[in-house]
Symmetry: C2
Subunit: 191 residues, 2 copies
DNA sequence: ATTTGGTTAGTTAACGTTCGCAAACATACT
DNA sequence: AGTATGTTTGCGAACGTTAACTAACCAAAT
């Protein structure tokens, strides 16, 4: 089922609202105001608030898949580094998308959405472990790498980096911070 | 101002409730039920819901300070490893305390609380950077370590580890997972 | 003529919070 | 010891607000 213009507009507004004020503060009223219509008009395009959040999750997953599609085709080490830089560029352009990184608390009261998003995150971690293994195989990374630990470090570290940038955007460009992070980590895992 | 027995009881109940259901689901009604009194009775012990959350933050900060006090006195490398193991033991004993690690989204609508908790987190990162520097100075860690990047990696990785354990406690003991994480990371940063 | 997308004016339920009153309890006086 | 008194801690009922959502209606487009 493909979404109409208004539906896209609503989902985009929800991204911004969650990003700015957190999901606790997300109300139909605010969504309607952001889009510029009355509250009931929202219900012409989505059956319920839960339905809207499902569409938000859909878009988050689609963005992740796009990212993975864009970075593949290089060496494992390059692909892995690109995963973070591509996301940092995306987030700098559309900061609202950073909520993708912190979904656990967002949908805690919606089991279905939570399961979907957590499965996606597990898959992401799995892909990064695979990239680490491929990097070992191609001779870029230390052969004694603990792939589980390093995958946690990389993803967790990046998340923390992004969240601190979001809380204090004046501290510098995310892309630059990400580059420094990768430059700091790579010597540790390269052989 | 020291807190009464009932106040402690209420704060403990709030930790559990937030940990189980998230802060969006936290209501005075549920707190009252958990403690076993009526809703208005809660207001005999706290002026407002916001007041209760402030007490929760106080306890989170107190726990952090206790942790740092307990681990100091060893070599920098040992102290740093202990920081994570001590917390993993604490979290396994009282899983509700894991919300300490993910405070950003919790208090997004309360500027004062958010600022306090974020300052505490910045301080924690700073202390870890200091421990890394001390570890370099005492010859345990690689002298070329990027302390900013490694501090992010360590804290971010641990957070991710804890959050995945919380979502699937059947996957094993947190203390054991933490030990494996440290064992995987230490060879990368040791010299 | 019916679908589409909008409106105003509700409903219902849940929220944080307050009010007035009654036990329970400690303290003080006889 | 027994009674008076004030404070603490509880309760049921209710208040004001806001949430998600619905009903009924209307205008333009297909």
């Amino acid at each position: 089922m493909q979404s109409s213009e208004r539906q896209k507009e609503i989902v985009a507004a929800v991204f911004n609202l969650i990003s700015d004020q957190g999901i606790q503060e997300l109300t139909i009223k605010k969504i309607a105001q952001a889009v510029g219509v009355s509250e009931p008009a929202i219900y012409r395009h989505f059956e319920s608030k839960s339905d809207i959040l499902a569409a938000v999750v859909d878009e988050m997953i689609a963005h992740r898949n796009t990212t993975f599609a864009r970075i593949s085709g290089n060496s494992a080490a390059t692909t892995l580094a690109s995963f973070f830089t591509v996301q940092s560029i995306l987030f700098e352009d559309l900061p609202a998308l950073t909520i993708m990184l912190f979904p656990e608390d967002l949908f805690r009261n919606d089991t279905v959405l939570l399961t979907r998003i957590m499965d996606t995150m597990k898959d992401t971690l799995g892909r990064i472990r695979e990239l680490l293994q491929a990097g070992i195989d191609e001779g870029s990374f230390r052969p004694d790498l603990d792939r589980d630990a390093v995958a946690l470090m990389l993803v967790g570290g990046f998340r923390l980096l992004v969240s601190s940038w979001r809380l204090d955007p004046a501290s510098g460009r995310l892309k630059e911070k990400t580059r420094r992070f990768i430059d700091g980590v790579w010597p540790l895992i390269s052989r």
